[in-house]
Amino acid sequence: MAERGESSEAVMLKKTEEEKLRKGKMIVGDESKAGYEEEGKKVKLVTSDGVTMEVEISIVKEMEIIQTFIGATDTDDSFIFPISNVSSHILNQIIELVKGEYDQELAKKLSHDELKEILVAANYLNMKTLFHFIATAIANVIQNKSVEFVRDFFGIVNDFTEEEEAELRKTNAWAFEGVDED
């Protein structure tokens, strides 16, 4: 663990921190997280569009990718975490969803593109609760909807021939029962 950490993290540390590391002050494990658990404390994240955002520690805690990093290095308040796969717009949406305690009503306000981008971001940041929440929102879009609605919503091309589709309808009576109004 320590060896792996040293080799990959060293790149990211500032000069002063590198020195600390050399002096053997690097703390590995949960103890080093303690400093980040203070109420109201913020962590700086820089997004793909170059915006530096100060995010509350309670939200950053859900980002396992950042937690892994904090847990493995001796970072301080001035440290800026790059999250180059996530735009500031999406990060703001994520913050809102976490603060709103994952309310399905909030998810309904998101556009299809936002849903997808948040899902990709949640996957990248390793935010398990958010990932499951958005995946469920997408599953809800699919549920009880006509195939035409699903294709249209996700931009999926219908690659069945007319004959194949007629055959599907004929042999698949269930599939077309109980469909919600689009």
């Binding site: 792996r4 950490g5 990959s8 993290e9 790149v11 990211m12 820089v46 170059g50 396992e64 990718i65 892994t68 990093f69 493995a72 790059p82 180059s84 796969n85 593109d113 997808k116 899902l119 990709v120 996957n123 990248y124 390793n126 398990k128 990932f131 995946a135 469920t136 997408i138 599953a139 699919i142 549920q143 009880n144 909807k145 006509s146 195939v147 699903v150 294709r151 996700f154 931009g155 999926i156 091309v157 219908n158 690659d159 069945f160 589709e165 599907l168 309808r169 042999t171 698949n172 009576a173 269930w174 599939a175 077309f176 469909v179």
Partner: protein, 185 residues
């Protein structure tokens, strides 16, 4: 702005180490980027959900309740083949979405023909299966393999003469559909 340039340089590599650090403990959330790009390069590749890596999209489909699968199988060929695949069952298992359904064979009121009915795990009657293809048979064998119901052999009585059957029908429980299993003669 010289600062920005310096900043950028610093950030390129840290990302790589982020990936290294987190891949260790990803179970349901897997390394989507890699497979996304390699697959996207092949020509007739179509993603399950455009704009999403397939492993992420697969997880989304797995969260949809089972009764929707026949309809989902009509969206496009990619969805259809995924829903029929063993991989789909695996993802649903990981997501804790497997639903147990009970299939039973029963006769209609005149006790002439038999048909299948399905109840879900709470004992609610869901629906009847489409009739088995071919002439009404008796004495056939039934086995379940990977979520597919195989109805094998038996005999049918047509106009007073009984004839043995060597046919095997396969019922796909996800797509609610019968198919023939070809056998070599």
């Amino acid at each position: 702005m010289p600062d920005l340039a310096v900043g950028k340089k610093r950030f390129i590599q840290p990302n790589m180490c982020f990936t290294n650090l987190t891949n260790q403990d990803k179970s349901t959330l897997s390394q989507s980027d890699n497979c996304f790009f390699s697959e996207a390069l092949s020509e007739d590749y179509s993603p399950i959900l455009p704009g999403l890596p397939d492993d992420v999209a697969e997880y989304c489909l797995a969260l949809v309740p089972r009764s929707n699968f026949p309809a989902m199988g009509g969206v496009c060929k990619r969805w259809r083949s995924f829903i029929q695949s063993k991989a789909f069952t695996t993802v649903r298992k990981l997501a804790g979405m497997l639903e147990e359904w009970l299939y039973f064979l029963t006769t209609d009121c005149e006790e002439k023909e038999s048909h299948w009915e399905v109840v879900d795990c709470l004992g609610r009657k869901c629906r009847s299966l489409p009739p088995m293809p071919g002439p009404g048979k008796a004495g056939f064998g039934v086995v379940v393999l990977n979520g597919k119901l195989l109805v094998m052999a038996g005999y049918s009585a047509l106009e007073g003469t009984a004839s043995a059957s060597a046919e095997v029908h396969q019922y796909d429980s996800c797509l609610n559909r019968y198919g023939f299993l070809k056998h070599s003669t």
